[in-house]
Each structure stands twice: as C-alpha cells, then as structure tokens.
Amino acid sequence: MDQFILDLKQEKFNGSYDLAYKVINHLRKLISQTRWAHAKELMGVIRKEGKQLVAAQPSEYVIGNMVRRVLKIVREEYVRLLGKSEEFANTESLHKMLTSAETEDEKYMKSLKELKTTVMEAVSEYIDEMDASIHNIAAQAIEHIHSNEVILTIGKSRTVEAFLKQAAKKRKFHVIVVEGAPLYHGHELAASLAAHNIETTIITDSAVFAMMSRVNKVIIGTHSVLANGGLKAVSGAHIVAQAAYQHAVPLIVLGAMFKLCLLHYSDIGGSEATFNRLASPHRVLDYYKAGSQDLCNVQVYCPTFDYVPPELVTLFISNIGGNAPSYMYRLLSEMYHPNDHEL
C-alpha cells in the first residue's frame, strides 16, 4: 500500500483516466485482502485509506471521486441485498427518520455473506464502464460535428482525440490545435490527428483571439468538472473559453463521469492551495537565460491548471450523454452519497 502512496506523491501516473484506474484497482485489492465483518467496517476501512490517498496528492480530485464512488457502490449493494429498493438508501424522508427500523448506529451493520462478492462484481462493472467511457463519448461525435467545420481545441485530451478521429471517419472537417504552452501537448495531438489524415493546423496560444472569428466550435477536454459545473482544465483554457464567448462560439467539454467531483473552486493560495499545481519554471524561462545577472530576481510562474466558470461552457458531453453545466450538480447525487461528502 505504501508503494502506491509513494507513486501518487511522485506523480507517476499518465493522465486522469490512468490515475482513476490505478486508484480503483488499489481499492479493489483492499476490499478483497482486508478482513471486515460488515458493511460499516468496510466503509471505515475504505474511508481511512481514502484519506491517506487524498492527502498524498490533494490536487488530483479523481482520487477522492473514486473513493466516494466505491463507498456509494458498497451502500447500494448492501441495500439491494437487504431486499429494499436503491432509492431507499438515498432518501432521507421525515417519515423514515422517525419510524426507521434501524437506528443510525445499526445501519449497514448486518453481516451478509454475499456482500463481498457483490461488491467486487459491482466494482468490476464500474471499471468496465470507465473503460468504455471514451468509446461512449466518441460514439456521440457524429451528432455534433458537421462537414467543413473548423474546430478548435487546446492541449491534448485522449477523449477529444478519440472524438475527432471517430467523426473523421464519416465527415471532413478542419481542426485548429492550440499549442498549450508551456507543456506543448498540442503538438502531440496535432501529429496524431494529421497521421489520421485530418486537416490540422497548429497555432500558438497568442493567436487564439485572432483565429476565433473563423472557428465554428471549440471542443476541449478537462481534468475535472467541479460541483458548480465549472472546469479545472489545462492552463490556457480560460482565455480560449473567454475568446469563444466573445465571438459567440459554442464551447463543448468532453469528460467521462468519473471526472465529476464534489468540490467547488477555491483560489486559496499558499501552503493550503489545492486547486493549482505550479510546475517547474524552467519550462517558462529556462535556467540558462534566467540564471544571468539581470534576471535573477524575477518571479516566474508556471501554473498547470485553469478555472473555467460554468457561464462560459455551452455543453458537457459525458458517457451518459449531453448535459448543460447547470445540471451537473444533480448528477452528483447519482454518483456519490451525501454522507460521503466528508471523508
């Protein structure tokens, strides 16, 4: 277990899908290997481990999402095995509170033999759903891209790549890829799309406003979706979103449901900052130039993420379909149980 936490601290993962997959496999191992008597104990074990994982890498919200999702799965399976409907586990009606057969302490404490197997099955099902999420999103591509469109995207998102490649099978369109300084992932995406014979043009971040008047749609991927419908996306996404808004160009965000998290945006700085991650300033101003006598007192910033407010987003496309950002908060209640909001 410690090795995994060390890997998290050292950021040895490759994107949010990879991280989510690793976390949920880790939790599955945990469920199968530890000894627990009933559901409440199991949830306690998962919660404890979850706290450690989140503390190891607080800026990656996917970890917390996965932990809470597993907790929700456990609750659902428990309730289903007891024979009651799934809605029962969620609703907190006044009647239920006054006349419930179990008190708060007794809830989830009945020991059920089949709980372990059913929970393991449900978690595997969820992993399969996550695997298929990219394909589900890509399958909706043909509904949103018409021919001869000019589409703008920034950075490299595996979801956007699959989306565009799927649409290119049937339609001819043009893609403009913004570099995404200072990580320049846009170059990788452009090379991959061009290899699939999609007409691609690379532009610098500075040319976004100039090009926006000719763009029909902006399609971006995101790192996380926040509880208010806002985004935690790659650095540079906010100015792309603003430029799109100024030119009345729709902004479509692609993201699987596991990216949806309970947190809101907070711009607390200093040691408690969890929203943004500052990467090495070497990428912005390399040590060779900055080390000279002139520039030794310059503060150089290299943020990796940007907050995009929900007013700038037109549509979210996830594996369960398309939604407006104002609806995202409702989807939270389907994914996570309200008692799990605080780990």
Partner: protein
C-alpha cells in the same frame, strides 16, 4: 498602399508616352508629306522665282505651332488620365492578392525591372491565409545581388538583411534604421547629368523600398516615414543646388525621426506616468520600446509599482523587456500568455504598445495583444495603449486575416538542438501532409477592450484616429 502609389504614376506615364509616340509618328508622316509638298513648293517657287527662305521660316513657324498644340494635347491627356485613375479608387496592394496569378505576374515583372530579387513562397501554405505571402527563411534573398552602380545601395542591402534575420525588430527601431539608411543613400547620391534631382532620386528610392519589402513586409511606421520622404522630395525647388537639396533632405529626415520618435516618446512618458500610481501592478505584453521608456520614467519619479511581463511564443520578446526593467531595478514577474487568467486577479492596469492604429479605431499589435486586452476587460482592468501619432494609418480592418504577416512556420517547431520534448520535429512536419503550422505576427484588437490611447497629442479614445490623421495631413 505604397506599391499602389508607385503603380499609378508609372502607369499614367506609360499611357501618356504611348499616345505621344503615336502623335510623333503621325506628325513624322505628315511632316514627310509636308516636306515633300514644301519641296515641291520650293521647286515650283524657285521655278517661279519666288523667295525660298521665307517659306522655310513659314515652315518653322508651322512646326512650332504644331509642337505647342502637341504639348497642350499632352497636358490635356495627362489630366484626363489622372481623372480616370482617380475614378478607379484606391488600389489593393499586390501583397494582399497572392492567390491571384495575374497580379503576381505583374508584381514579379516590376521587381525584375527594378533588379530586386524575389523571394520564393514556402512549401506548405495555410489555406486560410492563401491571399498572403507565406515565406520560409531557407535561402538568403541577397545571394545573387551584385554591387554594381545601378544596383541597390549597400546600406539598404545591410538594412534588408537585418530586417530579414530579425536583428532589428520593433516599429520605432525599424523606422529609425530606415531613415538612417536612406540618409546614407542620399549622401552618396550623385545626380546624373541632364536629370533632375527630385525625379531621379525618387526612381532610386523605389527599388530600395521594393527590396526592403521583399526582405520583410513594411511596417506601418516605415510606411508613414516613406510617405513623408516622398513628399519632401517632390517639394524640392528646381532651382536649388544639388548639394544644398541633399543637405536639406537629410536634415528633414533626421528631424522626422527626432520629432516623431524621440520627442514623442518623452511627451507620451510624461502623460502616461500620471496614470501609474503607488502600489500598482502593471501588466505589459511582449516588448515595446515606448512602454519600457514609460515604465522607466515612472520608476524614476519614485513611484512604487511592480510589473508583470506576459510573453508569447515563438518570438519571446518579453525577455528583452524583462532585462531592461530589471536593470532599472523594477520588481518583475514573468508568465506565458496561457497563464494570463492565473495572474490577472493581481493586476491593476495593463499597458500595451501598438504597431499601428487603424482608422476604424482598431489597434494593430503583436499577436496576443487582443487576448490580453480581452482578458483584462473581462475582469474590469483598464487597458492603456501608448502609441506615437505617426503610426496612425488610413487603413481599415476588422479581423486579423485580411492583412497580416505570416512568419516562418518552422519557428514554432523543435529546434535542431533539442532532441526530446513534445514539440514536433521538422522532418515529422514535412512528412505529414495534413499538418500545417501557422505563425502569425500581428493581430487586431477591437476598440471596446481599450480604455484610451496615449499619444503625444494627448490622451484620446481609439476612435479619434481619423481626426488626428486629418490634423496631421494639414500640417505637412
């Protein structure tokens, strides 16, 4: 617009020359007829015994009358031509019609006549910009230039190379360097016999300007300077000696640089300083000599402020600004343009330099200026543009596509040194047919994002550009 000016009179001249030639041919034929008649007359008269020399004088008088009639007809024709050309309206420069093969053929012929080498277009062109030149910096344009007496002056060749290689950048620097080189050209100029200084000097300047245009498209500041030059040259009185005319011209051009660049800089600094207060966090984009001067001046008056320098690829000119400011002792931060939203909550004011101001109030600046202004406006941060009055131009433009400078696309790709890293390598770029790379140089910012423009004539709204242009045209 410059090449349009060059085109008009030469076209008119050609047409007039043709008509004159025709007339002369007709006259020769009629003269021959006349002379034969007069000879007959003479012979008849001699035969008759009438006075022969008198008829010669008569003939001379007749010829003089014909020549005067010819001259009157020529001036009439010229006026008509000028009128008809005015009716056609302003002509679009050939630099904006690269996708029209006829226009490009004409332009190529003109360059050949002026002995100016022409650049070859790049291999992979972005289709959205197929109406503009898209060059690649592969072969030096001056490889085949000779140093003959009819060629281009070496100072101009040196200047062209400095432009093409990016050694001289920034509109003020380019304009000042241009005036310097032209002063050298004028100093070394010798009027050939039988020719007038005013007309021949202009014909010497035209190939020089075409060459500089081929090295790097003319900036708005250079265009303004060239217009001033041409006006000064045409105003030289014909009775002035060549030496005196050259001296006056050189001092006029130097005065242009002094008044419009140096003095304007000081005037703008004085008024813009009043806009910076203690505790301000000023954001600048890229490197503008004027903005650096303003910030230095404000710092010297003892104001306490710090500067955030935003930079854009591939030029990364912000590093130059950073050096200047750090040397003066100003506290600086540095970010790339993708981090503008991250740093904007701290910023209180944005100061931007401009490449040129268009007549409809739009500001033409280095690419990324519009993005910074938009981001600032969205957070309610005032954007102040500082621009000298000589950079105002009569052009109108609403987007950044119709008129722009496309740089070498390989500037965005990986340099030869770095083997790793996510940037695409050049061979990969060449092999992928569907992949294009766009390197824009300028972009156009709408006036609603800007609070004001500070010029040496005062602090104006962006929409006052045509007013200033009118005032300046009455002055010169």
């Amino acid at each position: 617009m410059q090449s349009a000016d060059v085109g008009d009179p030469s076209k008119a001249n050609k047409a007039v020359k043709k008509s004159v030639k025709k007339e002369r041919r007709k006259e020769k034929i009629s003269n021959k007829g006349d002379s034969s008649k007069s000879q007959q007359q003479q012979s008849v008269q001699q035969f008759d015994g009438a006075v022969a020399p008198k008829s010669k004088a008569e003939l001379r008088a007749e010829r003089r009358a014909k020549q005067e009639a010819e001259r009157a007809a020529k001036t009439l024709k010229k006026e008509e031509q000028a009128k008809s050309n005015k009716a056609k309206g302003p002509q679009v420069s050939a630099n904006l019609q690269v996708d029209d093969p006829k226009v490009q053929k004409k332009a190529a012929k003109k360059l050949e006549k002026q002995q100016v080498p022409q650049r070859t277009e790049g291999h992979k062109k972005v289709t959205l910009f197929s109406h503009l030149h898209q060059y690649e910096r592969s072969v030096s344009i001056t490889k085949d230039i000779g140093f003959g007496s009819t060629g281009i002056h070496p100072a101009i060749i040196k200047l062209g190379l400095q432009y093409a290689e990016g050694i001289i950048t920034g509109s003020n620097a380019r304009c000042a360097a241009l005036m310097n080189a032209v002063c050298q050209l004028i100093a070394d100029y010798e009027t050939p016999p039988q020719k007038e200084l005013a007309r021949h000097l202009e014909s010497k300047l035209k190939p020089a300007i075409s060459f500089l245009n081929q090295c790097r498209p003319l900036s708005v500041s250079m265009g303004s300077a060239i217009k001033y030059m041409k006006i000064k040259i045409t105003k030289i009185p014909s009775d002035m000696s060549d030496d005196k005319a050259k001296q006056e011209l050189i001092s006029d051009l130097q005065a242009f640089v002094h008044v419009n660049i140096t003095l304007a800089k000081q005037a703008i600094s004085n008024s813009a300083c009043s806009k910076i207060s203690d505790g301000d966090v000023v954001m600048i984009y890229g490197s503008s000599s004027l903005i650096i001067h303003v910030l230095n001046a404000a710092f010297k008056t003892g104001r306490n402020f710090r500067v955030v320098v935003v930079d854009g690829r591939p030029k990364l000119s912000g590093i130059r600004a950073l050096r200047h400011l750090c040397r003066a002792g100003i506290k600086c931060s540095y970010v790339l343009i993708s981090a503008v939203s991250y740093i904007m909550p701290e910023v209180t004011k944005v100061f931007l330099g401009a490449h040129g101001l268009l007549s409809n109030g739009y500001v033409m600046g280095s690419v990324g200026t519009s993005l910074v202004s938009m981001a600032a406006k969205a957070r309610g941060v005032p954007v102040i543009v500082c621009c000298e009055a000589y950079k105002f131009c009569e052009r109108v433009q609403t987007d950044s596509f119709v008129n722009n400078e496309i740089g070498d696309p390989r500037d965005l790709l990986a340099t030869d040194g770095s083997s790793s890293g996510p940037l695409i390598k050049e061979d990969a770029y060449k092999n992928l047919d569907s992949l294009k790379v766009l390197h824009l140089t300028y972009d156009v910012t709408p006036p609603q994002y800007m609070a004001m423009v500070v010029t040496e004539l005062g602090m104006l709204p962006c929409t006052s550009v045509p007013v200033v242009l009118r005032v300046r045209s009455f002055d010169t």
